[in-house]
Amino acid sequence: MQDASVSLMFAGLHRSGESMSENLLELKNVSKRFGGLVALDNVSLVLKPGEIHCLAGENGSGKSTIIKIMSGVYTPTDGEILIDGKPLTGFTPAQSVQQGIQVIYQDFSLFGNLTVAENLALNTLLLEGKKSVSWKRIRDLATKALARLGVTMDLDADVESLPTSGKQIVAIARAMMGDARLIIMDEPTTALTRPEVDALFRIVRDIQAQGIAVLFVSHKMREMLEISERLTVLRNGKKVAEGPISDFNEAAITRAMTGHDLTDQTYEWKPAAAIDQPRLDVKQLNIPGALENIDLTLHAGEIVGLSGLIGSGRTELALALFGMNPKYTGSVMIDGKKVHPKSVQEAIESGLAYVPEDRLTEGLFLTQSIERNMLATSFENFVSGIFIDRKKADAATKAMFGAMQIAAPGPQTPVNHLSGGNQQRVVLARWLLTGARVLILNGPTVGVDVGSKAQIHRKIRELATQNGLAVLMISDDVPELVQNCNRVIVMHRGRFVDEVSADTLNEDALNDRLKALK
């Protein structure tokens, strides 16, 4: 249990160090540019002593740039940093620590091979410039650090043996040693279970009670609403909203983060005046024990959802179509031409593209350029003789770079310099370059933040409407299916058991049918 008198004592101790009226930290019109790329554009942000402030934004909105500026890792291109109302020039990481600013990174920066005690004490010993190590002192420092958080822990346990929540507590306790006044937590709830999140929030409130400000960097709206007092929202490097948390609700935060409302934009597909032949036509596809009598017809511009419980055969169907499990009977036609791909290579050649389960980005070569990533599956389309036809390839990637509206200086930029949403566009561009006419997506937005999700959805719709692709979207995410598909097929035990068409498609209807399967 937290000892109230101790925290009050600490609160007093810390508040006496500074005058109450001052802002703890202020960024004044701060900009940060990397070459031609503007990471942060004229952002002002005020942190008050002892407040819990939330910095919200999607991937690539400038959150991590702000953290790095506050911790002295980046020097702003323009603007001022003020601490206790005093402007600081040439702000360095060492100065940042001296001013009591501590960052807890997502990976915690702990030493898994060392004990809890040593992890806690090392910083302090280093700051003191110690040459030798007293193990008694290490234990004392560690005991004190944990007492301050009101937690007990085995000091001799190796940190790598702790669960994530335990590691986080060690990281927080370590950050609070010395004279922390501001603790910045980068996506602290990512790997935590709900009870662990609750425990974390109790600790954060304890920290606050000791007069320490906490900057919570996150993209999870429910958690922001729960813990923070004030909120600042970034989008594309600009501050787009700020204010006390009472001014916001989930929809308002989403709107601020993404720049538009994400709800009620369902997908409507209007069949072309004269549909002669379907893009994909599957007849009586059978795999003994996995798929039974599958009939599926996709037209150009259609986005068809494929829903069902895990193990219903959705993925098996995708793998069969994509040449990864060619032992099926039945016929598959693409644009009227019979195909039976026996390898991924053949499937790509016949006009299919499959983006597997997991995140879209897992298929990227992060240190390689956008261009190379785009060409990764379609180099053979740009070959003359044994060499790559550079001109042809350049022209194609440049066109795709423009068409996909990728926010980067050029196609040569390495993919790891891009935000999540932009990375996903590169993956989609790659498949478009293969000349795919049928796109199969499996869980296209698993683990993606709200804004990127919306971007991916928008892109998928564009691919369907403008490029005439037929899309088969496999997903467990009911709202995603309802929003993006013109019809949804329900699969169960290897068979298509139901279909919900556009006029009756809504979340309740789909949920009911899925529940009926259980």
Partner: protein, 325 residues
């Protein structure tokens, strides 16, 4: 409690079991003569192993130290002969410094160019061996030329005894140097900030930088330490076997690395102890010694060393993996 889960305890138990087994097969194993001989064989490999241990804790590997040892030994002996120098202390200081300076090259390449330690040390080891043979000489300095004061120094025994057959034998005093260096290494790793920085760097290099360790200093120290110990061990080896052979120690790095891995150091870095290494060294020397007693061909001894490296590495890797889950 935790003492039973510690790698050192497990190694010690395995060692004891092995000793009992070997003693059953060959009762002569327990003769004082044999035990003293075993301990004597621990000295050189053990001193080198201390250096390799520190390198492995830092998450690196060193295969160049035997080349440094040879260079330090051969250069120092040649120098002594050239100048007609008659002391003992200064030559050991010089040999140590030669090893240290060569180790600094390793650290420089590994830190500055972020190169993989294995590649760097393969390269520097090869260069040093090549330069030694090409520029300094290929002839062996034998007992007739070898500085007598070195031989006499290495001959000092702690205990002298006579065996049943009437031959004299003793326990070499060099074992004290080895144990002394082991103690220093242990205290240093455990009770100095730079020692702890080696563990920190081996566990999480990026985090070590973030908390404010001077990782350049850490790496410099690690590779210089390994080089210095190798240089010292090189000259000591020459003194103990009464000759300076510029082709000595070929393939010996594998024995040393095997001993360190056997002693429970992690190939992933961040784990390892001096006590474990002492046990590992003893175990390796004992196994090789038993093979000789059992008249197993030397080529087969290479097989055994290889199996030990792979087996012990697999075991420690398995142990460390399990902890990550």
């Amino acid at each position: 409690m935790t003492i039973f889960r510690r790698s050192e305890t497990i190694i010690a138990v395995i060692l004891l079991v092995a000793m009992v087994l070997i003693g059953l097969i060959n009762p002569a194993f327990w003769s004082l003569d044999n035990i003293f001989g075993l301990l004597r064989s621990n000295v050189i490999i053990g001193i080198m192993a201390l250096g390799v241990l520190v390198v492995m804790i830092s998450g690196g590997i060193d295969v160049s130290f035997t080349a440094f040892a040879v260079a330090a030994m051969y250069l120092t002996v040649k120098g002594m002969l050239y100048f007609g120098y008659e002391g003992v202390l200064l030559p050991f200081v010089v040999a140590t410094l030669i090893g240290l300076a060569l180790g600094a090259f390793n650290a420089f390449f590994i830190h500055t160019f972020r190169m993989i330690p294995l590649i760097v040390t393969l390269g520097t080891g090869s260069v040093v061996r090549g330069l030694l043979l090409g520029l300094v000489g290929t002839s062996i300095v034998n007992i007739d030329k070898m500085p007598p004061q070195l031989i006499n120094f290495a001959k000092v025994n702690l205990v002298n005894s006579t065996s049943a057959t009437g031959t004299n034998f003793g326990l070499t005093a060099m074992i004290l140097i080895y144990l002394g260096l082991a103690l220093v290494t242990h205290l240093f790793l455990r009770y100095t900030m730079i020692g702890r920085s080696i563990f920190a760097y081996g566990g999480a290099p990026e985090a070590a930088k973030r908390v404010g360790f001077d990782t350049r200093k850490t790496l410099l120290f690690v590779y210089c330490f390994a080089g210095a110990l190798a240089g010292f061990a090189g000259l000591l080896q020459g003194s103990m076997i009464w000759q300076a052979n510029p082709r000595d120690f070929a393939g010996f790095e594998l024995d040393v690395i095997a001993a360190v891995v056997l002693g429970g150091a992690s190939i992933f870095g961040g784990r390892g102890s001096v006590i474990g290494t002492l046990l590992g060294v003893f175990m390796l020397v004992m196994v090789k010694n038993s093979l000789i007693i059992m008249k197993v061909d030397t080529t087969w001894q290479r097989v055994v060393v290889g199996v030990i490296i792979v087996g012990a590495t697999a075991l420690t890797a398995w142990r460390d993996r399990k902890k990550l889950v």
